[in-house]
Symmetry: C2
Subunit: 262 residues, 2 copies
DNA sequence: CGGCCAATTGATTAAACTCAATCTGCGTGG
DNA sequence: CCACGCAGATTGAGTTTAATCAATTGGCCG
C-alpha cells in the first residue's frame, strides 16, 4: 500500500484526535505529545479495504488519522448494513480488552490512514492520563448517541428524512474537527454506501438525494456536497443537535473531566 | 406505587446483576456483597412510567433489578422509536459521568424495580473492584453489539425477519439471566411496543407475529411466548449468537478480566 | 353489564424495491 | 488524441412491502 499523498484531510499541526479532544477539554502539551505518540504506528488502506472482520478476533484499536471508515455487518443474504461512519479523530475498537470477538466488520470508505494501538496501551491511558481516559469514555458515550440516532433514523424516518438527517450529522461532525469550509463537505461515500447506511436501495437513495437538490437544500459537485441550508436540513431530517454534544463543548465538563490548574 | 408482588422475575438469592456478572467471570463473595450493596437504593415504577428524559440531565445510573425497561426517542411528529430493551441485570446510564445530557428517554415496559446508583459510586467501582469495573466495560461493549444488531435489523431485515431476530435476541438474553423455563418467555411488551422497537406499524407487527405462530415457530398465551424452534427462529431472523458473546462466557476472559487465584 | 385496552381483520393507499436500461465523467491503452 | 471500458449516477416501469384508515373482537375489571 502506498503511504504517499494522503491529502484527504487538511493537514494541520495537530492530529484529528487531538483536535477532537481539544474541542472538548483543555489538553496540556504533555498530553498532546502523548496522544501523538500513541498514533506513531500507522497503516494506510485503499478504499474498499477491510480492517476488522465480524466474528474475528480483535487485535488492536484503531484511530482514524485521515479518511473515512465504516462499521458494517452483512446479512445471510449478503446485504450490507453500515452501522456507523468513523471520521478522522474517531477511535474504533476501544472495547478491545473486554470482548474477544468483533461484532462488526470495518472497511475504508476512502483512502484511509489509521493509527494502530496496542490493547495494552488503551489500558494504560486512564492510568497515565486520566483526562484523556475520560475523553475516551466520552467518545464511547457519543458513539452510543450516534448509533441511537441511526436507529431512530432507520426505524422512524422516511427515506427523504433519513438522508437529510444523515447529512446534518456528517455536517456537524466534520465541523467539529474543522473539516468544513464554506459549508462544503468532502464526502467520499458513493450513493451505494449511503444506501447501505440508511437501509435504502440505491435507486431510491438517488431519487431522494436529487429531491434535496431540487428543493435547494444541498448542492453537489463531484464528491463535494455544499449544505445550502443547514437549518432546513435539520428540520426536514428531525436532527437533534444536542445528541452530538455540540452545546457543552465550549465549556469543559465538570467532575472527572475537569482540571484544576490551567 | 406498590412495592409488593413483583414476581416478574424468579427471585433467587442473587440479584440479576450478580447472576449476569457471575455468568461472565468468577465473582468473589466480597464482590457479591459489594454489588448487592450498590443496589440498596431502589425505586419501583409502574408500567409506562418514564425515568430518564431525552435532553434532560442525567443524575444517576440505574440497575434493573426486575422487570423490563426501554430506551427510546420521539420524533418531531411524535412517533416513538425504542432503541433497545433493558432486562434484569442490565445497567443504564453508565456514561453518567461523561455526558451532561441524556440522548434518549427511558420508560418502564412492565412493573419495574430499579436500583439508583450515584454517579460517584460508578467511578469508585473500577478503583475498588477492578474485576467488576471490567465487567461493566464488557456490558458496554455488549450493549454496543446489541444496538448494532438493532441497526442491522431495522436497515436490512424484512418485518418477518425483524420479529424473529428480536425474539431470538430476547430468548438468549433472558436465558443468560436464568429467566427462561421450558422455552417459555414472559414478555411484558405489548404489540405496540414491539412495533416501536422494530420500526413497524402495529397492524403489520400483528400480522407477522401471527405468521410466526401459523408457521409453528412460536406459541403465545397471554403475556407468555413459547419458542418452539429456536434454531429455525435464528435462521429466519438471521440471528448471530456470537454477538451476545454466549460462547465465551463459560471461560473467563483473559487479560484485565482474568483472575489469578480462586 | 359497560368500558377499556389490546389484538385482530379487511380494504385501500403509499413508500420503497426490483429489474432493466441509459447516461456521464474519467482514465487508459493504442 | 481518441475509442473503449468501467464505475457510478440517473431514469423508467412495474411490483412488493408495509402503512394507513376503519372496524370488530376478546378478555378483564370494576
Amino acid at each position: 500500500m502506498d503511504i504517499a499523498s494522503s491529502n484527504l484531510s487538511p493537514e494541520q499541526d495537530a492530529s484529528a484526535l487531538v483536535r477532537k479532544l481539544g474541542g472538548m477539554a483543555l489538553v496540556s502539551e504533555e498530553e498532546v505529545s502523548y496522544l501523538e505518540g500513541l498514533q506513531a504506528n500507522t497503516l494506510v488502506l485503499k478504499r474498499g479495504a477491510d480492517f476488522m472482520r465480524d466474528g474475528g478476533s480483535i487485535s488492536a484499536a484503531f484511530i482514524i488519522r485521515s479518511g473515512w471508515a465504516a462499521r458494517y455487518v452483512l446479512t445471510a443474504e449478503g446485504r450490507r448494513q453500515i452501522l456507523s461512519i468513523a471520521l478522522p479523530g474517531d477511535v474504533m475498537g476501544l472495547h478491545v480488552n473486554f470482548s474477544r470477538k468483533a461484532t462488526y466488520s470495518a472497511m475504508a470508505l476512502s483512502e484511509l490512514e489509521l493509527a494502530v494501538v496496542e490493547p495494552m496501551r488503551i489500558l494504560e491511558i486512564s492510568q497515565k492520563h486520566p483526562l484523556i481516559g475520560s475523553g475516551l469514555s466520552w467518545f464511547t458515550a457519543r458513539e452510543f448517541a450516534i448509533l441511537g440516532d441511526q436507529t431512530m433514523r432507520l426505524g422512524r424516518l422516511s427515506a427523504h428524512q433519513r438522508i437529510a438527517h444523515f447529512l446534518a450529522e456528517i455536517y456537524f461532525r466534520l465541523s467539529f474537527i474543522g473539516e468544513v469550509e464554506d459549508d462544503t463537505l468532502y464526502v467520499p461515500m458513493r450513493q451505494a454506501d449511503i444506501a447501505d447506511t440508511l437501509g435504502l436501495s440505491i435507486v431510491h437513495t438517488n431519487r431522494e438525494i436529487m429531491r434535496l437538490r431540487r428543493d435547494g437544500l444541498i448542492e453537489t459537485a463531484g464528491r463535494e456536497i455544499r449544505i445550502i441550508d443547514i437549518n432546513r436540513l435539520c428540520e426536514v431530517g428531525n436532527f437533534d443537535r444536542s445528541h452530538l454534544g455540540e452545546i457543552e463543548l465550549s465549556e469543559p465538563l465538570t467532575g472527572p473531566i475537569s482540571r484544576e490548574n490551567r
